[in-house]
Symmetry: C2
Subunit: 336 residues, 2 copies
DNA sequence: GCGGGAATTGTAAAGGATTACATTCGACGT
DNA sequence: ACGTCGAATGTAATCCTTTACAATTCCCGC
């Protein structure tokens, strides 16, 4: 069932059929109708390989993340893929497993498949690997990547807003002694979040006590240890904010283990709003990372880069606080 | 950088280069060497579109699951994708979101992209949708699907083995009163698991008490409610096995809420070994679904179907119990 | 050294779309 | 009625491999 059949049936040339398929301007409305009817009647579907071969446009997008197993990503992938599907674009996606060397590899694979564009969300985007794609004429957009933001289109997420909301929530509950579980400062995102948190503290005139900042490995285990460290402090904070939900969950466990009741004795706030956040006990108040929006924005940027059309809103995305049950007034303060 | 360049450089015809690329037999070893050197020197990569166009072989596999957001799948996807990458095969994957209608759509998209083969793991595989692919000459394999197992190659998972291990573990701890949280019986997998569980009970000569079988919706919330129902029973079981981890987590929460300590007052065992199983408190003993192996097996089946080569082990895969901390002897029985 | 069959290698068509360029159509002004 | 010009459509080259078939080379026994 090739384009020739359609052309015959519609009594036009293949060129015209192609023009209709690609929505080129300058085809008479009547002709468009005729061709579209023929397409429908024959149940014709263009061959993507032939298209890709000739037109260098494959309607294939690449998506690179650091880790499928990280519960942060499925929703991002889902959203990205849904947008793509709606436009007849297929997505091939790969993950680096946090290994910069593999990023190189991922990008190469995508170039070899001649994708039309690549979206990248990894903790450390390597300039050199990405440059490969640019050399091959493939647009790249970054998500949530501050370091290379100048060199590539980027979807920015403004952590500060989220932390400010979290802080204001805690303050309104009556907390003044607020700890933080940071991540390894070599990680871009961990550093960004810590900076945002301390900025939020300062903007409320709260002194940042370095002994109330513990460092974890971004995973549950690390959160547990970090929380143990915080609990050992004298005095200890009445509320703790964690860099991500995984560590917040660890913190929750550490509290449990020390027979400290959350939220009665201690409030905990996470960051990301992973599915797990609502599954633990008590359900975790957390700052929702707007990952669906990030994906949508990234997709829009790519589409723009490929088709060269349209404007894309480039205001930073704002995370927002989701209040569940891991926060309450500190002991000795009544709920209003 | 096309095949002609390579042919020139190696002083052979394009046909020979192609033969080398596709590892056809009947090319002199010396020639192979020469061509491969040329390929390497020119950094030549065959154009997948041209290949797909002429050879009808795209080195693209499709993977259809029911839900990316279900924490069960990332590991499966990861494993499948890793195997594919190792052979230069790319994977496009889609999800049905539990909607049979969308399965049709997924399959069509894959046919349109002319994938070489499709692997399917959804809760309800629709015969008609799959048949489309077969008509298009695309091999399909199923994972963990009993219903259509006769009509398509399938990777079987023998639930019974896992439940037997779980049961023996509980028995050895001293439990005799064992409840079960089932899933909706219209779901294939839920039914299979319940059957496997009751079979295991019977094989140990334990009477199946229907009032100790509660039904949940396969999610946390449903597990919580089901557990509440079980806790309302008089007498109540000392141990509960759940159809999946998500409901086991819900059960854990219900126990918490009723101030029942796990595992002291109640033992809980899940099924799947999701990442969350080790994150909750206490870490959940669970039956590990061998999903990496399932993916590997499915991939092997597909490769075989495409290349027509090799034998694939078709013995059923066995889930195994992973003992963590949600199981202990019932009250009144000493640990040995 | 040569005939002949097997083993290698080469030639050119085919695969299905896009697109540069050529052609035809249609409307309009005069 | 005709020339003109823009709009609409058509023709055929092109994208890059694979592969059927043809041509050549190799090797061996005689």
């Amino acid at each position: 069932m090739d384009i020739v059949q359609v052309a015959k049936r519609a009594k036009v040339s293949t060129a015209t059929v192609s023009r209709v398929l690609n929505e080129f301007p300058g085809v008479r409305e009547k002709t468009v109708q005729r061709v579209q009817r023929a397409i429908a009647e024959l149940n014709y579907v263009p061959n993507p390989n032939a298209r890709g071969l000739r037109a260098r446009r494959t309607r294939l997008f690449g998506l690179i993340v650091s880790d499928v197993n990280n519960p942060f990503f499925p929703e991002l992938i889902d959203a990205f893929e849904a947008m793509a599907a709606a436009e007849g674009i297929e997505v091939i996606f790969t993950h680096t497993n946090y290994d910069p060397h593999r990023l190189q590899n991922c990008v190469r694979r995508m170039i070899e498949r001649s994708v039309d564009a690549i979206a990248v969300m990894t903790s450390e985007a390597e300039e050199e690997a990405l440059h490969q794609a640019v050399r091959a004429g493939i647009p790249v957009v970054l998500m949530n990547q501050r370091k290379l933001a100048g060199k590539y289109p980027n979807v920015p997420v403004e952590y500060t807003a989220g932390f400010r909301e979290a802080l204001e929530h805690l303050l309104s509950l009556g907390h003044r002694d607020i700890g933080f579980i940071a991540g390894p400062q070599r990680l871009n995102s961990a550093r960004g979040r810590k900076d945002a948190f301390t900025a939020a503290l300062k903007s409320h005139g709260i002194h940042v006590r370095s002994e109330w900042i513990a460092v974890g490995d971004m995973r549950v285990e690390g959160g547990r240890k970090a929380m143990d460290a915080l609990l050992a402090q004298q005095p200890r904070p009445t509320a703790v904010v964690a860099t991500n939900d995984l560590m917040a969950v660890g913190a929750l466990q550490a509290a449990h283990a020390s027979r400290i009741q959350v939220p009665r004795d201690l409030s905990i706030i996470g960051f990301d709003d992973l599915p797990i956040a609502s599954m633990v006990h008590p359900p975790l108040s957390t700052i929702r990372h707007p990952r669906r929006e990030v994906a949508a924005r990234a997709f829009a940027l790519l589409r723009k880069a490929v088709k060269g059309e349209g404007k894309v809103d480039d205001s930073p995305l704002q995370p927002h606080l989701v209040i569940r049950s891991s926060t309450a007034p500190p002991l000795g303060i009544k709920r209003h």
